[in-house]
Amino acid sequence: MLGPVIAGLYGTVLPAFGHLPAAGLTGPTLDPFRSLFDWGGLGAAVRLSVTTGVLATGLSLLIVSFIVAGWSGTRSFRVLERLLSPLLSVPHAAAAFGLAFLIVPSGWLARMTSPWLTGWDRPPDVLIVQDPLGLAMVAGLVVKEVPFLLLMMIAAMGQAQPRRSLLVAQALGYGRVTGWLKTVFPRVYAQIRLPVYVVIGYSMSVVDVAVILGPSTPPTLSVQIVKWMSDPDLAMRLTGAAAALLQFALVVGVLVAWWLGERVVAALGRRWIASGRRGQTDTPGRVLGLWFGALSALSILLGLASLLVWSFAARWTFPNVLPDGFTLRSWDRHGPSAIATMGETFVIAGAAVGLALVLVLGCLEAEHRGGRQFGQRGLLLLYLPLLVPQTAFLPGLQTMLLSIGADMGQMPVVFAHLVFVLPYVFLSLGDPWRSWDARNATVAQALGASPWRVFWAVRLPMLTRPVLTALAVGVAVSVGQYLATLLIGGGRVSTLTTEAVALSSGGDRRAIGVYGLLQTLAALVPFTVALIVPTILWRNRRGLHD
């Protein structure tokens, strides 16, 4: 999967130095960088990319750590976990739309408190979304990254054996949070480091969330790159390519800075641990963690609810909490074409995820039979497409596909999706696949079964649930792809996500409601299937799994 990333980066580097033979331009020259540095918004755009990315990642990590530290093993934790895990599959764009409907000055929160509390009979003229600091955008990223990091952390906890460490710490008089932070966190963090890096790279270069919630005077660097890439003036493409390289360098720089930050925190942390102080932060940490966790879950759920209400709304005036009337008209108008688009979305997702599953299963099975483990380096290779900012290599990939005349239609889009789907399917399936008890295979082979029969008749059925979950994760990733569909599809391929983001510029909240809901549904249905099917399959052989 490195091929497309490297090809794409190559296709970005050449034009960044003024080399685009297709346009009759040959380099090398530094003009693209000159015109990039001439752009008045560059400073603000770069600052925005860095601050939103770092802030969103840091906040998400902080919230997740306090939730896990303060509550793992409790009933509230299980409730929160169950609440947050399906939210992982809610596409970023839908979550961002929902959040926007909640927090704008005329949004649900203002309506619920007006005019009795606020005295507003008209929405106040305050800048909430599109704020120049990008805080609304950070909020939109945090609500989506908290579920992701939480699940990653829960998965990592299994191997860190937190219970015993915590017991010892508590026996020594440490509070729950302090004890966890001092004994468990260092081990857990080592395991979720790559996912954290993915969150940094993603948050710094995201396009769809930035278009919906981010500022526009100027926009973030990634949004500006997409603008330059679609400018009719081809010279702007060179500027865009130069900016894409800058974006890449920014992400690398921030990752290095973060890595250095880890050393600093580790050094300070060791001193803190060794100091033996029992800490006073337990209760506030616990409470804040739970509050923020619940808040991020609630804001997605409320946001989705507001999409639902808008999709059925007739006239709806401020400050009424509910529409003045309900109508099916929006569904009549947009439903049929939205459902047709949903079909295309599923065709692309199905093809990409099917391919990914075949590759991942083949890889895991080869690993099993060959007795070799995928090392840390292999893991890094797998993560690389997720770490490299999409805006840095997708435009280059598009230019490259165009020059060989293969940029149209669904197939290239499927392959572009595969680049992002494959790592997630692998990550989701790898651990359960490896932790399967190999003695089952030994028994089956002793009974005369061939390796393939073991695979089809024993291993796959026993691992139905993780396989289906991996499929669901893959579908959710594919459904949420915006830039890969938009750029590689050349406009001819539309999915629910590209349609929804295109609608966002028109501001028709009813249509956005319809598309946003269906987009969420498209990502959620496979998860439901992954939950229900194994239960039905195993209703008379409950012992087959685990």
Binding site: A22, G40, R329, R333, G491, R492, E499, A502, G506, R510
Partner: protein, 399 residues
């Protein structure tokens, strides 16, 4: 303007002869049957999307042409696409068969020989188009010469909520006074959005002494002096805009919910019927009305053009011709559907065809053709390009 120079350099001597030949309409119809036409058109407006879907149904029924709407966020994307295809040597079957286009994008494509044609004036329905009364043969002062077919007339109108802003305004200077007295209640879409750039031109046309200078291409000598009053005007206006000018709505339709919520009292639209349509769709309150300025407002025609490398030019011509038909035009003018002005000459229609237009209720917020008053000519596209670029430098980068 290296961009125009670049395009000129690319304009290889590939003299495009219209093939298939629109004069032989029967042959065009025969060839069109079964073709798929990818129409790249801005996709942000749900009413337009619905209308295009209806056109698709009708041309499939009558001519066997399959119409696919490729929804753009920016028409420039389609121009880029054709340009990239030309560079990549894709000369026979590009991704785009038809583009909703006008103004600078048309000028750029025509200049670079990226268009199929001339075809528009050979289409059968050209006979009923109002050639004298409407600006269908020039597009932002650039001669059309049959390289694009008109399908809708647009004119700037101001949309106001009479509940909170009962009075209309007569000029851009009055608008400035009003905005200073009512801070935060007006905004315009962020340029380079089409309507946002149009607002800038509307200001320019209204406040300068002699707008005739805008009909000539902007030159380095004239530009700064002519445009100076615009920047002075915007410097005075911006602090009193919605969100103090720190954020702008993305498009014209994105301002409707803001009016509906009571955030804005006033906005602009390029479609005289759009407000009535939006009221019918619950997107605007029933108290909304429209007005134009005393000196009139800018108007232009929307066109469709066919890229030189379309593999379905016959099908695209059939669609373009259908768009100019009395049936499609009457539907487009219906405020419950689209509310776009027609390009047809009522005097050239049969009585039945005219009856369909007469039967239309224009809608409570739509001005009659008489009330719309003088249509002011679009400035030469070079003004819009420069003004937009400078706007982005001045107000779009947070400096």
């Amino acid at each position: 303007m290296k961009y125009l120079a670049l395009m000129a350099a690319l304009a290889a001597p590939s003299a495009v002869l219209a093939n298939p030949d629109p004069a032989d309409w029967d042959a065009v119809l025969a060839e069109a049957d079964g073709q798929t036409v990818f129409w790249n058109a801005w996709g942000g407006s749900t009413t337009t999307n619905d209308f295009i879907a209806w056109v698709g149904e009708r041309v499939a029924e009558d001519y066997g042409v399959i119409l696919e709407h490729v929804k753009l966020t920016d028409t420039a994307d389609a121009v880029t696409r054709v340009l990239s295809e030309k560079q990549a040597g894709e000369d026979d079957d590009g991704a785009i068969d038809m583009i909703w286009i006008n103004g600078a994008n048309f000028a750029a494509m025509k200049d670079a020989d990226l268009l199929f044609g001339p075809f528009a004036e050979q289409l059968p329905n050209w006979a009923v188009v109002d050639v004298d009364g409407k600006t269908v043969q020039t597009d932002f002062t650039v001669p059309v010469e049959g390289y694009e077919a008109p399908w809708a007339m647009a004119q700037v109108v101001f949309v106001h909520n009479t509940d909170t802003m009962p009075d209309t305004l007569g000029s851009m200077d009055e608008l400035l006074d009003w905005a200073q007295a009512n801070p935060g209640r007006f905004s315009y879409p962020q340029p380079p959005d089409f309507l946002g750039s149009t607002f800038l031109k509307q200001v320019l046309v209204d406040i300068i002494e002699d707008p005739a200078v805008l009909q000539e291409a902007a030159t380095d000598e004239t530009y700064d002096d002519v445009v100076a009053p615009l920047w002075a005007y915007l410097d005075a206006l911006t602090p009193h805009l919605w969100r103090s000018g720190q954020a702008y709505p993305a498009t014209g339709t994105a301002m409707f919910p803001l009016i509906n919520d009571g955030e804005l009292d006033l906005s602009i639209s390029f479609s005289p019927g759009a407000a009535s349509t939006a009221i019918a769709n619950f997107e605007l309150p029933e108290t909304v009305r429209t007005f134009v300025l005393d000196k009139g407002t800018i108007g232009n025609a929307s066109f469709v053009a066919i890229p030189y490398n379309s593999g379905s030019a016959a099908g695209a011509m059939v669609v373009a011709n259908f768009l100019m038909s009395p049936e499609a035009q009457a539907r487009a003018q219906d405020p419950n559907i689209l509310g776009y002005g027609t390009v047809l000459d009522m005097a050239k229609l049969s009585e039945d065809e005219r009856a369909a237009f007469d039967a239309l209720e224009l809608g409570i917020a739509t001005l009659s053709p008489a009330e719309l008053g003088t249509v002011q000519a679009e400035p030469h596209p070079s003004w819009m390009t420069r003004v937009t670029d400078d706007w982005v430098e001045r107000y779009g980068t947070g400096q």
